[in-house]
Subunit: 342 residues, 2 copies
């Protein structure tokens, strides 16, 4: 059963109730808190926060991801176990956080997990794949949903949990500047600071510990920009081999695409990462009417209206770039037509 909440002012009664039912169904089982592949701040923050709260309630917990915790997010993990492919002992219940769909956990990991008991998320494209689906597409971050659920239920949000929740919100809002940032987001940030989140420390860990290689990656990404769609689309490309050349890895691409979107006159920014057998692409729009989650969906991806991603390989990747340019240009034209008629 899927419930979409349209108020972010406080957690809605039905979402709170659904959370209580999820907790009740957990019983005393061990829990796998599952995040998505290539985890970002909101994913790791959500896993850490939920795992800490469940552990405080007496559950054995393990966090499971197909890929490792990015270096820059290690500071919020503390003594929790993140197990990329660990054997999950007992008969754990699986709660997915920040996963737009079941596949986002990664195929290998998914095959080892029980059927999803919980699905807590804020992605537009989440269709509800678990027994208990707690989806609020207006929340700025999955961490925002969790913070409200915990605070409303009077669950313990200690300093480390507040720090993890804050880290998720700050990354998924682009430091409080994406469309999803509301008055309530700031009130929640204030509450998390009161409970021990440290904005300056988090800011330094997330944004001021860049490796020299990442700076070189940025420099080369900036140099790769090409405009299309009448100048309204800016595409930057990371060619094969660039990670080895700059001493970086895929996790160092986080945030780069924002530079492509951030140019005057550009409506859609794109990062294309070339891979041996295909492409990964990140799409960012300034206007949510562009519904990039739908564009990504054409290529098997998904996400949010202004921030979506996809991954293609093998034969499906043929002519990818021209097909993407066509799809994005058509999307811009359709939005323009809608504006004229409305």
């Amino acid at each position: 059963m899927v419930t979409r909440m349209d108020s972010s002012a406080t957690v809605s009664p039905s979402l709170a109730e659904r959370f209580q039912r999820l907790l009740a169904d957990l019983g005393s089982r061990p829990v796998a808190v599952v995040g998505h592949a290539r985890p970002d701040g909101d994913c790791i923050g959500s896993q850490v926060a939920l795992a800490r709260v469940l552990r405080a309630r007496g559950h054995a917990v393990v966090c499971a991801n197909a890929d490792a915790v990015p270096r820059r997010l290690a500071f919020i993990v503390g003594d929790l176990t993140f197990a990329p492919a660990a054997a999950l002992t007992g008969e754990p219940a699986a709660i997915f956080v920040d996963c737009a769909d079941h596949l986002r956990a990664g195929e290998k990991l998914r095959a080892r997990l029980p059927a999803p008991l919980g699905n807590i998320d804020h992605h537009l494209s989440n269709e509800g794949f678990a027994q208990h689906n707690l989806i609020d597409t207006r929340a700025s971050a999955t961490c925002e949903i969790l913070a409200r659920l915990f605070l409303d239920a009077g669950l313990p949000v200690d300093a480390a949990t507040a720090q993890a929740l804050y880290a998720g919100i700050v990354t998924d809002t682009g430091q409080f500047r994406f469309q999803s940032t509301t008055r309530e987001t700031f009130l929640l940030a204030a509450e998390l600071v009161a409970r021990g989140a440290r904005p300056a420390e988090i800011g330094q860990e997330l944004y001021e510990q860049e490796s020299p290689g990442r700076m070189e990656l940025l420099r080369r990404f900036l140099g790769s920009f090409e405009r299309c769609g009448g100048g309204r689309i800016c595409i930057g490309t990371l060619p094969l081999g660039i990670f080895a050349e700059t001493g970086t890895s895929a996790e160092d691409t986080e945030g780069l695409v924002d530079y492509a979107r951030g140019i005057e006159g550009v409506e859609i920014g794109v990062l294309i990462e070339e891979r041996p057998d295909g492409f990964k692409a990140s799409l960012r729009a300034k206007d949510p009417a562009l519904r990039l989650d739908q564009v990504a969906g054409l290529f098997g991806g998904g996400g949010h209206a202004c921030a979506a991603g996809l991954s293609l390989r093998g034969p499906a990747a043929a002519d990818f770039r021209s097909r993407l340019e066509t799809a994005l240009t058509e999307r811009l034209q359709r939005r323009d037509a809608d504006r004229r008629t409305s």
Copy 2:
């Protein structure tokens, strides 16, 4: 008389009282709201907000700066008059905002202004140069002080004023991530959003309307990085002629220095802008104990503990780079020694 307020929780009674006395002394005179040369978001935001509130009280107002409003900040100005060197008619009272000292207004402008009646600021190095000095060095921004003063006094903070105050806070906190960001900063942001500030719009105007030239300036700045002080100082240089080559201007340097500080292992980031007759330098530290305002002071500059600046020309600029490296390295060593003994 100088008062430093050590609480940012709410405006202190004595600061509020001082503000009432300043308003009383204004009478019905026209007011010049004076900002500093090379104005940033907190400067323009403070000028716009104070000018709007004073205009609503019936004052004729003009905003005065030695340099023009940066393009990216034009969206908060509305119908106010900014007059780089306009004749100030009547017998205006001058209120300085966000000016660490009287000179920061610029020599030419200062010569045309009456003696400062008010001085509202948050810089550590502000020694109080006006008849009424309202200084709170713990505030994250001069806009934070003004917002508190206006809200506490029940003065009208409409949507445009809220937008200007928010823009100042977001820029001076580095998007809510510098040391000065507190729980109260977030509560204030929430209140400003409730009164009409639009975080996503402000974020797009400030950070997502970059010119292609500015991206090229960033790319070249990143390529100029050199480490010294045992790797703990990172200096990037903008050589003479780079603005012409990239189609940019001095205002496009805002924020670049944060990339130099933001590298792992770097404690102090520096941007040096070469000028025909000298240098301008921006200094940024991760640790407030480094007191960069004092280092900048050695070269006639000033600012905050973690963010300071200076400008040198003529004979005083000789050997600038080596003297700066020496001063910064000594400062790091002294901080290390203090840590060992404390």
